[in-house]
């Protein structure tokens, strides 16, 4: 892991992209290692913790990235380009799946009822599942803005760039997302922050 970090740093973000554009397969691997967890996390929580869909979407994103990286002309940040691909892949996948299975309904139905538990581990898992379900139950526009903010650590300007909307719209979506989550999961306040 340490060796990877050194290699990545040595080659540099821009240098890594250029190496990929020259067809350097090792550079592809390094670029994948650099971003895979962030892309996967966004897809994972976008699809209510469905690992199979998250894996498929992540593969789609990187495959598209690698096959089209020669077209990247450094007119925008590479990360913005990647997250735009991620956003598109998630929304396209959701559209496709919606024909068969509305994700919001599934996620909302999957929300477990709040209840006490003797086992702390079980309680933590329930809290985590409930959080996961609530995020997945957000409207897609709110959900993707929240996920890009927290898992990709993007600024509002970067999110606006990735989503193709204004910063004001991003601020509004994130604000609404926070409120929906707080109202839906207010009963978790105690169990989530116990011991702080």
């Amino acid at each position: 892991m340490e060796q990877f970090a050194v290699m990545t740093e040595e080659r540099g973000g821009a240098g890594l992209v250029e190496s990929c554009q020259r067809g350097d397969r090792e550079a592809f691997r390094l670029l994948f290692e650099e971003y895979k967890d962030k892309v996967y996390s966004v897809a994972f929580y976008f699809f209510a913790g469905d690992e199979a869909v998250a894996s498929d979407v992540t593969q789609q994103v990187f495959l598209k990235l690698f096959t089209r990286i020669a077209q990247f002309r450094h007119q925008s940040e590479f990360s913005t380009w990647l997250y735009r691909l991620t956003t598109n892949a998630c929304i396209d996948e959701q559209r496709r799946r919606k024909r068969f299975e509305p994700v919001e309904d599934t996620a909302a139905a999957a929300l477990p009822r709040a209840r006490g538990s003797a086992e702390d581990r079980l309680a933590r898992r329930e809290v985590r599942d409930e959080l996961q379900g609530a995020i997945a139950a957000l409207k897609p526009k709110l959900r993707i803005a929240i996920l890009l903010k927290y898992f990709e650590e993007l600024s509002y300007a970067e999110i606006a760039d990735a989503l193709g909307c204004s910063q004001g719209t991003v601020a509004s979506r994130i604000n609404r997302g926070h409120k929906v989550l707080a109202r839906r999961l207010g009963h978790l306040r105690g169990s989530l922050f116990r011991g702080e």
Binding site: T8, E9, G12, A14, G15, L16, E18, G23, R29, F32, E33, D37, Y40, Y45, A54, S55, Q59, Q60, L63, K64, F66, T67, R68, I69, A70, Q71, F72, R73, S76, R84, T87, N88, I91, D92, E93, R96, R128, A134, I146, Y150, F151, E153, Y156, A162, L163, G164, Q167, A171, S172, I174, N175, G177, H178, K179, L181, A182, L185, G186, L188, R189
Partner: protein
């Protein structure tokens, strides 16, 4: 005065996305608008909820699957094969999925086949551009390092006000950055000023040792191991905390001075607003003009106004820290003035049985309870009853100020040293 509510800006405010003037307007509005403060509590809960969601590592085998799906890559790909509008592709503009992963991989292979023929003529040009590429690489490395550190290591700005403060072992020149886990120290001749994210400032006096414990959207926390700090915080309540060896000071929108001596005792003196001085099972609410002393092992004592009489303060110290019991309590009650109802109100919850009745009666004598506060409710420590009474008493707690708190602090420390020494 007409003031626009700020509910729609609260997430941007919490994320530090507002410009300075706008951020200040939101902070000012929050200080005076209960409705927006309520909304902000909701937003902060939302933030903490999402922050508690862990990132998910991608499955380890994924690279192998992607690599297998990739076409055989040419040695060099021409950047000029790019379609100019690809980078500006907006959300939803990508073509719908055409099918499973493998089929897309074959499509990708076709894309590459179109570009290979034009690869060779660019090779010479590329060699000539090696020098430029190296420069770009260097800039890239610098950029990545800068972005990485900027995004993952939040720091606070430290400015030297006098002498040579230190962050870790490094001397602070004109200014420096204090990272999470790092210590800021001032010697006998130095002073420093800390910018607390975008929510306030802390001035550090000589002989102080302070560590940045955490800084995130919903909580900024430092540890004051010894010395003295002056904090001015303009954020909504409970965003800024100071850990001391014997209690935690939670900012409720205020300015205050906090001092910790070598034995871990501390003195909190509030100059504006309110501060909650608390441990796990005890809380002292300290308003402007009041002070509170803590002692390791006991936690925060009962708050008192700085202009309280000397016998009152001494008796209170005896009650809080030296098990003075009924005698000390009797002296406190005897010496109490109308303004000392702050102390008496806190003592209701720190006494029991007949002592609590005595506190109630003296409190009711000094400040008759409002109609909705019953004797039974107060003696039963009913939360709403106590809050209502506190609300009615607050008017008598405002105004008046004594500047002799340093003398009081010296005297109290000497008294504590004699009567309840710390080994």
């Amino acid at each position: 005065m007409f003031a626009r509510h700020v509910a729609k800006k609260l997430s941007a405010y919490a994320h530090g996305e507002l410009a300075g003037a706008e951020s200040a307007r939101v902070a000012t509005h929050l200080a005076s608008c209960a409705r927006c403060r309520g909304e902000f509590e909701e937003i902060k809960l939302g933030i903490r909820l999402v922050e508690s969601v862990p990132a998910r590592p991608a499955p380890a085998a994924m690279w192998g699957e992607i690599e297998a799906a990739l076409p055989a890559l040419p040695a060099t790909l021409p950047a000029s094969a790019a379609s100019a509008d690809f980078e500006s592709t907006a959300v939803h503009a990508t073509p719908r999925r055409r099918g499973p992963l493998r089929r897309r991989a074959r499509g990708a292979s076709d894309d590459f086949a179109l570009t290979v023929g034009r690869a060779s003529w660019l090779a010479g040009w590329r060699r000539a551009a090696v020098a430029c590429s190296l420069l770009v690489l260097f800039a890239g490395v610098c950029g990545v390092v800068w972005v990485y550190h900027g995004s993952t290591r939040a720091t606070w700005e430290v400015a030297s006000l006098a002498g040579a403060p230190r962050v870790g072992s490094a001397r602070v020149g004109k200014s420096a950055r204090l990272g999470v886990g790092e210590w800021l120290e001032t010697d006998a001749d130095s002073r420093a000023e800390l910018s607390v994210a975008n929510i306030g400032q802390v001035e550090i006096d000589p002989g102080t040792r302070l560590r940045l414990v955490s800084t995130r959207l919903t909580e900024h926390r430092v540890e004051l191991a010894r010395g003295r700090m002056h904090a001015r915080i303009w954020a909504p309540p409970r965003l800024f905390f100071v850990d001391t060896p014997s209690a935690v000071a939670a900012d409720l929108g205020c300015a205050y001075t906090l001092e910790v001596d070598d034995k871990g005792r501390s003195l909190l003196q509030v100059t504006s607003g309110w501060v909650a001085f608390e441990t796990k099972d005890r809380e002292s609410m300290v308003p402007a003009g009041a002070a509170c002393v803590t002692q390791p092992g006991t936690g925060p004592g009962t708050p008192f106004f700085e202009d309280a009489t000397e016998p009152f303060v001494d008796a209170l110290a005896s009650f809080d820290f030296a098990r003075g019991g009924a005698d000390a309590l009797a002296s406190v009650l005897k010496e109490a003035r109308a303004r000392d109802t702050l102390t008496l109100w806190h003592l209701l919850a720190r006494t029991s049985g007949a002592d609590r009745v005595r506190v109630y009666e003296r409190l009711a004598q000094l400040a008759p309870p409002p109609a909705n506060v019953t004797r039974e409710g107060a003696l039963a420590l009913d939360r709403r009853t106590l809050d209502d009474w506190k609300g009615a008493l607050e008017a008598t707690w405002l105004g008046g100020r004594d500047t002799n708190i340093k003398g009081t602090w010296r005297r109290m420390r000497a008294w504590l040293e004699r009567n309840c020494p710390i080994p």
